[in-house]
């Protein structure tokens, strides 16, 4: 008789994920699912899936899900949470979604300190649409709409959302993590768990930014993509907890 040490959590469905090989989304999905079970909140979770690579996230999470318009996740989550205060509501968003078209929604969800959890996948590129420049694209990084690399004179500089949102009183928990190594994945898990614990405890707006690899649109092998996260992204987007007013 064999014992199971680790397997796909029940909070994920059996639907195989469509993400490209090596993409970080699936790891983050699993961390969320594990968190739901460990915090025993699986029956209370309602997810908001974005427009972008994670548009099908509603098929992967076993919880009830709402898929909404590009950038509007925090607004949709606000509507759900205010209507069902007992629900644990999360908005799952990419960088174009959260830091470009949805900038107003994320900032004002933080301003209102909505008691929701936001998972922000930062891979410095528009993935689903095929590699266009994102607000988080690094200086010099080539994208289909920045064919010569991002030039600050023309396209400005990358935006650091955790640092920016940390200026808002309503932000209660802000952390940036990565999923490039098993060690970082385990650290990411702790932060994601904290962000959901905060919601359970009524702390207010919590967001975890995840530096995630996009081998496909970076035109890199999986190994090269992990290297890019470490050597290029982390200097621009340092890992760490930027705000923690959650208490114990």
């Amino acid at each position: 008789m064999s014992t199971i040490l680790a397997k796909k959590p029940a909070s994920l469905t059996d639907v195989p994920m469509h993400y490209c090989p090596g993409c970080g989304h699936g790891i983050v999905h699993r961390l969320l699912a594990e968190t739901f079970e460990e915090l025993k909140i699986a029956d209370r979770v309602i997810g908001v899936a974005p427009v972008g690579c994670a548009v099908f996230a509603d098929s992967y999470f076993a919880c009830d899900c709402v898929q909404g318009a590009h950038g509007r996740g925090p607004a949709i989550a606000t509507g759900i949470k205010r209507s069902k205060p007992q629900a644990i509501v999360f908005s799952y968003q990419g960088d174009g979604d959260l830091a470009s078209i949805g900038m107003a929604e994320i900032v004002h969800a933080a301003v209102r300190s909505e008691n929701i959890t936001v998972i922000f996948i930062n891979n410095a590129i528009y993935g689903m649409t095929g590699g266009q420049m994102a607000p988080t694209t690094l200086v010099g990084q080539v994208a289909t709409t920045a064919p010569k690399g991002r030039d600050p004179k023309l396209q400005g500089w990358p935006i650091n959302m955790c640092e920016m949102l940390s200026q808002i009183t309503g932000s209660k928990y802000l952390a940036r993590v990565a999923v490039d190594t098993p060690q970082n994945v385990l650290k990411a898990k702790q932060c994601i768990k904290k962000a959901f614990e905060n919601q359970v405890n009524g702390v207010g707006f919590s967001m975890v930014e995840v530096l995630s690899q996009c081998p496909t649109n970076w035109h890199a092998s999986v190994e090269q993509a992990l290297e890019f996260v470490r050597t290029k992204m982390m200097p621009q987007y340092p890992l760490g907890v930027f705000k923690d007013e959650g208490g114990k």
Partner: protein
């Protein structure tokens, strides 16, 4: 004895698990899966220490870690 099972229906052959394994006991399958990938496979189960690093890094949640 710890060992792993890889779900060929989910694995997309990114081999993050192969690189993550501290005992280097995973490898690439010689046979193609229904999905068109050469999935990861545990080549040397006898070396597995059940550390779950492969499970932790797998983006497709394709790995189950067991102990017999």
């Amino acid at each position: 004895m710890p060992r792993i099972e890889v779900d060929d229906n989910r694995c997309k052959a990114c081999y993050l698990c192969v690189n993550a394994c501290p005992k280097k006991c995973l490898g690439k399958s010689k046979t193609i899966s229904k999905k068109g990938y050469f999935p990861a496979v545990q080549e040397r189960p006898q070396d597995c220490i059940g550390c779950k690093m492969c499970y932790v890094i797998c983006p497709d949640v394709a790995i189950t870690v067991l102990k017999d």
